[in-house]
Amino acid sequence: MIKTIDLKKTFTGRGQTVYAVDGVTASVSPGEVVVIIGPSGSGKSTFLRCLNGLETFTSGHIVIDGVDLADRKTDLNKVRCEVGMVFQQFNLFPHKKVIENIVLAQMTVRKRDRQEAEEKARMLLEKVGIAEKEQEYPSRLSGGQQQRVAIARALAMDPKIMLFDEPTSALDPEMVGEVLDVMKNLAREGMTMVVVTHEMGFAREVADRVLFMDQGKLVEEGTPEHFFTAPREERTKLFLKQVL
């Protein structure tokens, strides 16, 4: 479903070249939940943002559902419809009510009529457990509720893949659970997910595969069982010793 081949992303500034993503080759199959972990600045978020074209990459290929993002003729907007994204900072539209947040892209991008879009929005709000907040503005919601709205907003586009960029990092500890629960349900329903997170518990419980990145490189990958109990690489062992 997703395939990256020797993906490289470099930033140049002040005469220095930084390899944010340095030759990552990975793949995600349909229905798989892949969790990417690694220390800060290891390029996990940049890698994730490359996957839906929010970040342009320097070289290599990303093939999503048979479409190569490196091909200049690819319509990125079309690809993005199929790849939902959830951000660390939620990024809800503050000037629109919760329901409008979810309806807007359905109407403008998917060209659904209002009634259909609202039905879909209500159904999704029900699913993430905040149906009663549909007429509120995002600023009146707690962080956890905002993030669940953001998930509903992404799901409303019927994406084939969901990307999560540290979805719980900006939340108060007591709200992390409610967001993770929504994500677990989603995983159980068979959604293809790529999750960048620091929640090791989530990785262990939900992930089909764990990728460990450091300094832009894919250091190790494997099942959570293998990864958390018997890591091969020294760098992985060191990291796990610090976080667990």
């Binding site: 951000f87 539209f93 503050p94 403008t108 953001a150 992404a154």
Partner: protein, 307 residues
């Protein structure tokens, strides 16, 4: 405390004018807002008054000419100058009708209002377009908009008005009002453009990322996500800009557009009530600007519901 200080200030001003022997004649001012204009009704031929009937202060006068054709006319009873059976000659006055007419100060204020409204409207459009060009990825659009903003901000409005009227007005053969409005609009547009640019750049990047990640195009993102938030943020500075525009519109009086300032000057030449008229003119500008700022404050309150 504020009132005490203001009162003392007013009192000292009054004392100062006493000292220079200025006679205040405020009673001369109202007639320049609204006055009664009289039009005299004359008989267009030699003839005779047949009858006069009065109802509610108006009189219907029936008269005939020498060949016996009958006519009638309505005048105000107070102004009636003829009696029944009287013989009249061509051009004799029967009476008069009066009606309320707007004086020069009212007309000037309407002109100022109209000038500022038109200039604000076009200024906003110019500013929006230029502001968008200013943040565009296209180098030509960006540098052209920077050039425009720098040229307009760097030259005095008075000089721009002269250039518009004497140079462009002559070359393109445009009227003084068009020249005045365009000078004001182009002047305001440069400032509005900078305000709009600041507004667009103040919207967090995450908003654009969220919109784009949902598959929206750059244009849809601008229309539905960035612009509504940007406009809400720039409303206070925009209000300030339009208030300045109302005041700056007084400069077009130099190209003989009869706006509030020029009407004030004209009224002074016939009344010599210099102090009164200028105070009145200042108050009228204050009236226009405070109505505008109240209006914008109201819009701001309405948009604040999502905070």
């Amino acid at each position: 405390m504020t009132f005490v200080i203001l009162f003392l200030l007013a009192a000292s001003l009054w004392a100062a004018t006493k000292k220079i022997d200025y006679t205040w004649r405020w009673n001369r001012v109202p007639q320049y807002f609204l006055y009664k204009a009289e039009t005299f009704e004359e008989i267009p031929f030699d003839g005779r008054i047949l009858s006069i009937s009065s109802v509610h202060g108006d009189s219907t006068v029936a008269y005939e000419n020498e060949s016996g054709e009958k006519f009638s006319i309505v005048v105000e009873t107070d102004s009636l100058r003829v009696t029944e059976g009287e013989d009249l000659f061509d051009g004799d006055s029967i009476g008069s009708n009066s009606e309320w007419k707007a004086g020069p100060l009212t007309m000037g204020m309407l002109m100022t209002l109209w000038l500022s409204a038109a200039a604000s409207f076009f200024g906003l459009i110019i500013g929006l377009v230029t502001g968008l060009c200013r943040v565009s990825k296209n180098y030509t659009l960006r540098s052209l908009s920077i050039f425009y903003v720098e040229v307009i901000r760097g030259t005095p409005l008075l000089v721009q008005i002269f250039i518009f009227y004497f140079f462009l007005g002559t070359v393109l053969d445009i009227s003084r009002v068009v020249a005045g409005v365009s000078a004001l609009a182009i002047f305001a547009g440069a400032y509005v453009a900078e305000i709009i640019r600041a507004g667009i750049q103040s919207v967090p990047k995450g908003q654009t990322e969220a919109a784009r990640s949902l598959g929206m195009s750059a244009t849809q993102n601008m229309i539905y996500i960035v612009m509504p938030q940007a406009l809400k943020r720039v409303l206070p500075p925009l209000a300030g800009q339009f208030i300045s525009l109302i005041k700056d519109s007084s400069l077009v009086s130099v190209i003989a557009i009869t706006d509030l300032t020029k009407s004030g000057r004209e009224v002074i030449t016939s009344t010599f009530a210099t102090f009164e008229i200028w105070f009145t003119v200042a108050l009228l500008y204050l009236l226009l600007t405070s109505v505008l700022s109240q209006l914008i404050a109201w819009v701001e309150r309405r948009l604040a519901v999502s905070d």
